[in-house]
């Protein structure tokens, strides 16, 4: 790109462009973080490149694998498809924010106990997704595996292995650790 006459490259790089970037706040794992970011930045890139939180992984970057799953205001979402600026003031929980001090989250413990991983790349996404999924089931959200005769208002959806597999289908595991992932989640499901 040709430099503007009279301005060096270095200076030009620092000219803030109010059009394509914004300053806003995200609450990440309970901490207020104010950021100035290019509008193109996704939540995933904000976490990994700007906040040093590399738990959420980039698998496909297109919503197809679930490795980037985080909780946004308590609900699971693919952070690779969320523009950070559009999440202004949201509360974001990553796998780093699940433990309470030294006490791992029950799902983290279950994944360890069941050895529910091989390479581990998909694991943070699996665990965040499972946290969100258990909450959805508790709130009575149905799934494609829920019997069609079940009516609304019958309380929490019971979670057998079929339900867990269906509800977790947005999280792929290239190592094929699925059987143990389902076991681990079943251990924690009510």
């Amino acid at each position: 790109m040709a430099a503007t006459p009279g301005i060096t490259d270095a200076e030009e790089a620092h000219v803030p462009n109010p059009v394509d970037r914004s300053t806003f706040t995200l609450y990440v794992n309970g901490t207020e973080r104010t950021l100035t970011l290019d509008h193109r930045t996704t939540v995933l890139d904000a976490l990994r490149e700007h906040l040093g939180l590399t738990g959420a992984k980039k698998g496909c970057d297109h919503g197809q694998c679930g490795a980037c799953t985080v909780l946004v205001d308590g609900r699971r979402a693919n952070s690779c498809l969320l523009l950070a600026v559009a999440q202004e003031d949201a509360h974001i929980t990553t796998v780093e924010g699940l433990a309470e001090g030294d006490r791992l989250h029950p799902l983290q413990r279950a994944f360890l106990e069941r050895d529910a991983l091989q390479c581990g790349y998909c694991t943070p996404g699996q665990i965040c997704s499972a946290v969100g999924m258990l909450r959805e089931a508790e709130d009575g959200f149905p799934s494609h595996a829920t019997p069609r005769t079940a009516l609304a208002g019958e309380g929490p959806a019971p979670l057998g292995a079929d339900e867990i597999r269906e509800r977790m289908s947005g999280n792929l595991c290239r190592c094929g650790a699925y059987p143990r992932i389902v076991d681990a989640i079943e251990d924690v499901a009510p």
Binding site: S22, R40, R76, A77, N78, G132, P142, L151, G153, G170
Partner: protein
Amino acid sequence: MKPFAYLRPATVSEAVRAGAGHPGSRFLGGGTNLVDLMKLGVETPGLLIDVSRLPLDGMTRTDDGGLRIGATVRNSDLAAHPEVRNHWPALSQALLAGASGQLRNTATTGGNLLQRTRCPYFQDVSKPCNKRIPGSGCPAREGTHRDLAVLGHSQDCVATNPSDMAVALAALDATVQLHGPEGVRTVQVTDFHRLPADNPDQDTVIRPGELITEVVLPPPSAGAVSLYRKARDRASYAFALASVAAVLSVRDGRVDRISLAFGGLAHRPWRARVAEDLLRGASTTGDAFARAVDAELAAARPLRDNGFKVDLARRLAIGALVELTTRAAST
């Protein structure tokens, strides 16, 4: 991705004004399709108008017993809504058969209706595609088209509409409300998506700057049962090869109310009017269903590699009608 400005209007009229004032802009719902296409370079808006926080997230019964669904209601909340599950189960089932739990939490009603085709050439900016660049050609017709259209396609485009939700809405006679620079209008979902003809760059009849504000379901018809069935390459988290939404009521052993729509077969949800006309008043036998569905699918013009879809759709539809007949008898 091209740099862009970002705006978050507080009201519908502000959003519409902003859209009208910036021809290169796009409305941002959940972003699960738009952000993806921006990463691929298919969409290059200079301005995103974020409509996801507009006060359009309500679901309320209408005076006549229908349901108003705000454009920013998330797919997961719509699928879980007690009124939807109990009175319009085909809609809930269609949503739950689509995408993943994460995506449904983010995707909005408005964005789902306007999601673009998954044709691989459309998503690849190094390839020609009449939908992306009018006049550049359609490589899918001779190339990879196993997942593409068998009905209503044109020389210029053989793409399919990927939405499961839209198929259920078409069968349920839902309407879409649009707010645009020239005012407010209501369009039937069955008239909202178009066939490709010679201008496949237009997926729908939406006009520049128009914002979807709500979708309205008419009241459920008394005694009718409904369902959604989808066939795909894997058990979950895959787009439809073929799908069907059906609404049926039976009186004195004969079909009374019938509404049938196919997904995955065409550039829009395919309302099976030919089959419906044959079925109204017909006996509720497998033979009668097969005759009607065959009459509808006689219009199919499969491409080299997607003829299997016709048989798939046929079996889905007949199976759905048989199941609904059993259920209608027991209600």
